[in-house]
């Protein structure tokens, strides 16, 4: 099955999904699918991230497999949007008409429900007819996107805030990267568009996705005002025709063919209708001299605090203007009164209100009030000018002690200071350099080196300590030093004996062998040199519980040495070799026993 399956926006927006900008919808790649192929079912949650994938129930007629999530972050005209999609592969098991049921999706404790989607499974090899957006081109495309612009009033006063709405209608198309509407501003001024709303509307028997952009328009001059068509730019996402590969590889069958089809973007510009309305001038008759320029419906509040001060102490005067109108072009009343030192005001435009804060300082104890303040504006509903008066506010000013006067530090002129400086607080900015990016497992190798270092430390310490103690004992204990040296000396004598054996010097051999053994026994076993007879040596060897064969060996060697020395009887070479080996064994055995 290699016919391209065009993406369908079959499933509509969830029933209750628009609460708090979170949206949940379900879509499938095709409304009809042939047996032996597969379709992709996607649940898209917009406006939030990091949620658990919905668990799908068993769906009649399909084998359902979860194939993973995808996160999409898009930025349109500096507006950030995030969508998290969960994809499922639906493999048809039998022919017929089935319905993928509505799926409840739990998002932050709220449950949203997708819409049920009907799917028809055709016989294997059947050609699936084109989906509604297949081959979306030319006139067909135009009939599926439209942009409508409208103003809330047909008549308005100069400066009046007039709501303007631009609605984008899209039918079974996927539009991305939408820009805010662009409108040529001639004869009026526009506020920036607010965050667009999205919803669904049914018209002409079709479901339309609607994106609504809203703003306020302020006419600047009287007469008929024309608003040129608004333009919205975006990218149309459509499925490209897959290439027909004749190689017959595994990606050439229906299943992979459907899933490896690619999507392409095509830039589109959608134009709206033009609009016009009549702008009336503000009446000159009855126009107050202190008219602020405000047009609309307003409320005006004034606060002054504290109300009991010492002369020279600051009083904060706060004027708050709220309502619907050309807030930004409005001048708030200017405070002027005798007996006050006045600092420059600070004006802040907040959401739906304009706030003026001003420090005033009563300099005279005769001051008893903060005078009333008047705000005059043109009231649109009544079509007349209106003045709102607030105050006066009683004020009790006590004489100040010398040196108590409020002084704005660092400013020579009183008008240069507004209020004591309040420093802002926020987090320090991010770091542009990632530094050394380390793999999480690299810490373990550091630990291994650390523990290896500890082991090496302990070994070096131990060895140095043992060496030191041994050296000290060799210096402090001559007997010990002699004992340690005796074995070495005995081996040296045995080596000499070996050389004499090789030279055929029997007497010299036995002299060296006997001397080596006797000196060894004196040093090692403490046998007195004067009492060096066989009996005393045997006694000493028995004392260290040496095996009897070694005692016999000692006796044999001494006897052979005596014969060689006094009787001059030459011993056989083999006997001499045996005696040399025995002597070495005896020393080794004594060393082992003496430890």
């Amino acid at each position: 099955m290699r016919k391209p399956m065009i993406t369908l926006m079959l499933a509509a927006v969830a029933l209750s999904a628009w609460a708090s900008d979170i949206g949940v919808k379900a879509t499938v790649t095709a409304g009809r699918v042939a047996l032996g192929t597969a379709l992709q079912y996607t649940i898209t949650v917009s406006g939030i991230q990091n949620i658990q994938p919905p668990v799908l129930p068993a769906v009649d007629g399909f084998d359902v497999r979860y194939s993973g999530p995808a996160t999409r972050v898009s930025v349109i005209n500096n507006t950030y949007a995030v969508e998290e999609s969960f994809n499922y592969v639906f493999i048809p098991l039998k022919e017929g008409k089935f319905t993928i049921p509505a799926i409840p999706v739990d998002v932050k404790g709220q449950t949203f429900t997708t819409e049920a989607i009907p799917v028809e499974v055709l016989p294997a090899g059947a050609e699936v007819s084109s989906a509604p957006d297949a081959g979306v081109k030319g006139k067909d495309l135009e009939s599926r996107m439209k942009l409508l612009m409208g103003v809330a009033r047909e008549k308005a006063y100069v400066g009046e805030a007039v709501p303007l709405t631009v609605r984008l209608y899209v039918n079974q198309l996927s539009l991305q990267e939408l820009s805010f509407p662009e409108i040529a501003q001639e004869g009026f001024r526009l506020d920036p568009f607010t965050e667009p709303k999205q919803f669904q509307e049914t018209a002409d028997g079709s479901a339309w996705q609607v994106v609504e952009f809203s703003t306020l328009l302020y006419p600047l001059k009287p007469g008929e005002t024309n608003i040129a068509p608004a333009l919205v730019r975006g990218s149309l996402l459509f499925k490209a025709e897959p290439s027909r590969d004749t190689s017959g590889g595994i990606f050439d069958d229906g299943f992979f063919g459907n899933f490896f089809s690619s999507y392409q973007k095509r830039p589109v510009t959608i134009s709206s209708n033009a609009a016009k309305f009549d702008v009336r001038p503000l009446p000159e008759e009855g126009k107050p001299a202190d008219f602020s320029g405000a047009v609309g419906e307003f409320d005006f509040k004034v606060e002054a605090s504290p109300r009991e001060v010492k002369s020279g102490d600051p009083v904060t005067l706060r004027m708050i203007l709220t309502g619907m109108g050309n807030m930004k072009g409005v001048s708030l009343p200017v405070f002027k009164a005798d007996g006050f030192k006045v600092y420059d005001p600070q004006i802040k435009d907040e959401a739906g209100r304009r706030v003026l804060e001003q420090v005033i300082i009563p300099t005279d104890t005769k001051v008893t009030e903060v005078p009333a303040l008047k705000f005059t504006y043109f009231d649109v509903p009544s079509g007349s000018y209106r003045t709102l008066e607030r105050g006066p506010f009683p004020l009790k000013v006590a004489p100040s002690a010398s040196g108590d006067e409020f002084q704005a530090m660092g400013f020579a002129r009183p008008s240069a200071v507004l209020a004591p400086e309040t420093l802002g607080r926020d987090i320090v900015f991010i770091k542009d350099n990632p530094g050394r990016l380390e793999q999480r497992t690299q810490g373990m190798s550091g630990r291994i080196v650390f523990y290896a270092m500890i082991a090496i430390y302990l070994q070096v310490w131990g060895a140095a300590l043992v060496f030191y103690l041994r050296r000290r004992r060799l210096l402090d204990d001559p007997k010990f030093a002699r004992q340690i040296a005796s074995a070495r000396e005995a081996r040296r004598m045995f080596h000499l004996a070996g050389e004499r054996l090789a030279a055929g010097d029997t007497k010299g051999f036995y002299d060296a062998l006997e001397k080596g053994l006797r000196d060894y026994f004196v040093a090692r076993l403490g046998v007195l040199p004067g009492g060096m007879d066989t009996a005393s040596i045997e006694k000493a060897l028995t004392g260290i519980r040496l095996d009897g064969k070694y005692l016999a060996g000692v006796r044999d060697i001494f006897k052979a040495a005596e014969h060689a020395r006094f009787a001059g009887m030459p011993a056989g070479v083999s006997a001499m070799r045996t005696h040399l080996a025995d002597a070495e064994d005896i020393v080794r055995a004594v060393e082992r026993r003496s430890r």
Binding site: L437, R440, G446, I454, Y457, Y468
Partner: protein
């Protein structure tokens, strides 16, 4: 046999080279995600900045700057808990970063009813100033110095009193750093942050009576885990059960 042996050696070299190339590619991809996170933050797309920085972590790479930027991005999206969590993670790697300290302090000031966890240990200053690895190496260096001093003193024939005095002093330094390393490791066991407002209950189920509220960003200690619930202890010693999803270990 020879062919097999050479083939095996070649395979090992090839595998090592391939894994090195993959590791480098992963690191480049992680660095690219970090840069994308910085750009998103610059353009005030804080959710996107979170996504990109978490992508760096998902690729298996960490650095203090990644956690720091992630903390900033979460802070800007209003998630104080996630912000404190990531600042604390960054602090484990870069405890002397002044920007990090300032931001952590500010984020904590946004936490409802924040109570600092105070340590009575004299090693606390070292615990907060050094990383765990630094403390371990300092302890090891002091230990090595102690041994070197003892041995060189003995060999050089230094008076015994002087050797004992020097050894005691160096042993105290070793003990101090060891205690700091140990205290830091103990302090990190079960350390967690509440990443979403929650109620601490007497029992690990939704029917349990609410004992106290746990504001987002509260620093806690996890005592036990059971069936998706965790028993937490707040700095004043009170403990209760909260859903596991509302806390994240540091």
């Amino acid at each position: 046999m020879k062919v097999l042996r050479h083939g095996g050696v070649c395979l090992v070299i090839l595998a090592a080279a391939t894994s090195a190339v993959w590791a480098q590619a992963d690191q480049r991809a992680a660095a690219a995600s970090f840069a994308a996170g910085v750009k998103a933050y610059h353009e005030a797309h804080y959710d996107a900045a979170v996504t990109f920085n978490e992508d760096v972590l998902a690729k298996g790479f960490v650095s203090p700057a990644v956690y720091y930027n992630l903390g900033n991005a979460w802070f800007k999206t209003g998630r104080t808990g996630k912000s404190v969590l990531n600042y604390l993670r960054a602090r484990q790697l870069a405890p002397r970063d002044s920007d990090l300290r300032a931001n952590l302090s500010y984020a904590r000031s946004m936490v409802e009813n924040y109570v600092p966890r105070k340590s009575a240990s004299i090693a606390a200053p070292a615990e907060s100033y050094f990383t765990d690895i630094e403390l371990q190496w300092l302890a090891l260096a002091a230990l090595g110095l102690t041994g070197l001093f003892v041995l060189s003193g003995l060999y050089a024939g230094m008076p015994r009193k002087r050797i004992v005095l020097g050894t005691v002093l160096l042993a105290l330094v070793t003990g101090y750093f060891s205690a700091a390393a140990f205290g830091q490791a103990i302090g990190r066991l079960g350390a967690a942050v509440c990443v979403g407002k929650s109620d601490a209950r007497f029992e690990p189920n939704t029917q349990g009576t609410v004992y106290f509220r746990v504001p987002e960003g509260t620093e806690l200690k996890i005592l036990r885990e059971k069936d998706g619930w965790v028993k937490i202890e707040r700095p004043d010693g009170k403990s209760g059960w909260v859903p596991g999803v509302s806390v994240e270990k540091i």
